[in-house]
Amino acid sequence: MFKVKYFEAIRTAAVIVIALIIAFLIISLVSDQPVKTIGIFLLEPLSTKGHIGNVIEMAIPLMFTGLAVSLLFRANMFNLGAEGIFYFSGVVASVLAIHLSLGGWLHPLVAIAAGSIVGALLSAVPGILKAKWNANELVTSLMFNNILFGVGLYLLNYHLRDAKAFANVSFKFEKTAQLSKIFPGTRIHTGLIIVLVLIVLAHLFLYRTKWGYELRMTGANREFARYSGMKTAKVIILVHLIAGFIAGMGGSVEVLGMYSRFQWTSLPGYGLDGALVAMLAKNNPLSVIASALFLAYIRIGADLMARLSDVPSEMISIIQAVIILLISAEQFLKFWKNRMLLKEAKEA
């Protein structure tokens, strides 16, 4: 069993290596100085304290949505609604950050709580539709993304917009609402601590509680779970509530931690990236940390590359597509696993 146990890890590593090779190939085709450009892409994120900070700052929202999506995927729910919820909860938290005045730590707490609860309620809708009437949660959640974006943009343009600023941005948040920075010289904020705690809690929930067990069983085989007496409809609604709560908290934390006013005029994309993070993490809460850091690292690498060389940062979306296709490909390297199994069987 020893080698086969590590098969998934080796496979993930192989996918990442292939994706990086493709990245190098694209860079060599496009860039005038391919070696220098690859160097920037790979090493520049580590070059200064600020850049390392950038990687961690970007990993925070990815951890939130990655965690939310991995719980949904674990329950075998193909719901991509974290995208819209992340955005809309950001708007909700901004409203409270602008219009409320509360002392100290209470202000962000209230704003984040509001964003999280709104996120949970919004997420429950596709969940209830799925659990009660088997409506395809993928399509409803994707439609919800567009609806939430439209409503959020409307709120920004008609109710929150600061006419004095020469851009489509909201009024400034109250100083008391913003999350404090925890590492001097970077913009890493207390959201990091919040998300790490959340990840540990999710891990305990999934593997140490009865609800978590029911969630995993429902995901593995809904029919079987139902026949063994679990209320799968309740499980499906519960996982939607939790995932929406986490995604909503992510949007609120991101807005209050990174910005001084609300300024997203398009969906920020962290929800769909969350699906990628969840897949890389094999839907394991603790692995979400590493996969979010990896994705943030190549993102920041691509951004720096776009700034310092002649290759545009959009290259990274090609790499991400390759990673998704190969990671979710059950048959990829399967022949190798089979050969290993055969060998081990013979040895035994």
Binding site: V30, F78, L80, L129, K132, W133, N134, A135, N136, L138, V139, T140, L142, M143, F144, N146, I147, F149, G150, V151, L153, Y154, N157, Y158, L272, A275, L276, M279, P312, E314, M315, I316, S317, I318, Q320, A321, V322, I324, L325, L326, S328, A329, E330, Q331, F332
Partner: protein, 312 residues
């Protein structure tokens, strides 16, 4: 309210409904074929985007709109082929495969656009060609119908023709029969000697073919250039139209028209003082409502069947 009626009850409005329905209809027909073979192709959006860009690039370099169209169709079908290869051969999850295609397309098109034109927003610097619009003789002289039905883009007529073609393909040809049988019961189809994989490959390639016609229309008809993310959710609306149309050709065509009307209405409503941001959500709200109605009625039907069988 009066000004709204004045806008809607015009031949211009009816004309614009057909104009905005075209890309949705093409993609919905594509979604129909793959769904009938038991595969949800959610890469529609990405396929449309890639073919829209390829149409612009190829037509700009060859100075021919028709070669551009050919390029668009080939590229879109190729993307569908890649998706088919991964899902059928490597067993990539079809939904995640679709997500990958969309992710690839939204960034990849900007990447290629930037390399070729130095611009990340639109293809203004590429001298791309546009496919012609067609006046239909005799028809164009009929009052009311003429201004509505004549003078459309050639791909709009092709999309209407495609409804008939897809209907014939699915219901009257051996291939259509195989596609439907694979979708309904792959094991049974396999046991009578139908190659499930081959049929699913064919269905996915056909879905890519129709989606890419929709994409080509976006950049060589609806607009005369490529702009980033120009498909703007039409691929998703097409998937919703197919599922609201209950996977029948006629139903899919009619719901596509409904979404086209909602879209055109959203454009027309801008004369009223309703915020554009909210109006833009209308097609999606309509989709959710449609899906709920469908899901509820399906569940009721199933429960009724269950009750009658148990009471026996």
């Amino acid at each position: 309210m009066n000004s709204l009626l004045n806008v809607i009850l015009t031949t211009d409005f009816a004309f614009s409904v057909l104009r905005v329905t075209t890309p949705i209809l093409f993609a919905a027909l594509g979604a129909l074929i793959s769904n009938r073979a038991g595969i949800i192709n959610i890469g529609m959006e990405g396929i449309m985007l890639v073919s829209a860009l390829t149409g612009v690039i190829v037509s700009a370099y060859t100075h021919s709109a028709w070669v551009g169209l050919l390029g668009a169709v080939l590229s879109g079908t190729l993307i569908a082929g890649i998706l088919a290869f991964f899902t059928l051969k490597f067993k990539t999850h079809i939904i995640l495969g679709g997500v990958a295609i969309n992710m690839f397309a939204s960034g990849g098109t900007v990447f290629i656009l930037y390399l070729l034109s130095g611009d990340k927003g639109s293809s203004t610097s590429l001298a791309s060609k546009v496919l012609p619009s067609v006046e239909i003789p005799l028809l164009k002289d009929i009052p009311v119908l003429g201004p509505i039905l004549s003078g459309h883009h050639i791909l709009t007529y092709l999309s209407i023709l495609s409804v008939l073609v897809v209907y014939y393909l699915l219901n009257r040809t051996p291939l259509g029969l195989r596609i439907r049988s694979v979708g309904e019961n792959p094991h049974a189809a396999q046991s009578v000697g139908v190659s499930v994989i081959k049929i699913q490959y064919t269905a996915l390639l056909l879905s890519g073919f129709f989606a890419s016609l929709g994409g080509a229309y976006m950049s060589m008809g609806y607009l005369s250039l490529f702009t980033r993310d120009m498909v703007a959710g039409r691929g998703w609306i097409a998937i919703a139209a197919e599922s609201m149309g209950r996977s029948t050709t006629v139903g899919t065509a009619l719901t596509s028209l409904l979404f086209g009307a909602a879209d055109a209405l959203a454009n027309a409503l801008q004369v009223l003082k309703i915020p554009a941001e909210l109006i833009a959500t209308l097609p999606y709200v309509a989709t959710v409502i449609g899906l709920i109605i469908y899901a509820v009625s399906e569940t009721r039907k199933k429960n009724k069947k269950l009750k009658t069988t148990t009471s026996k």
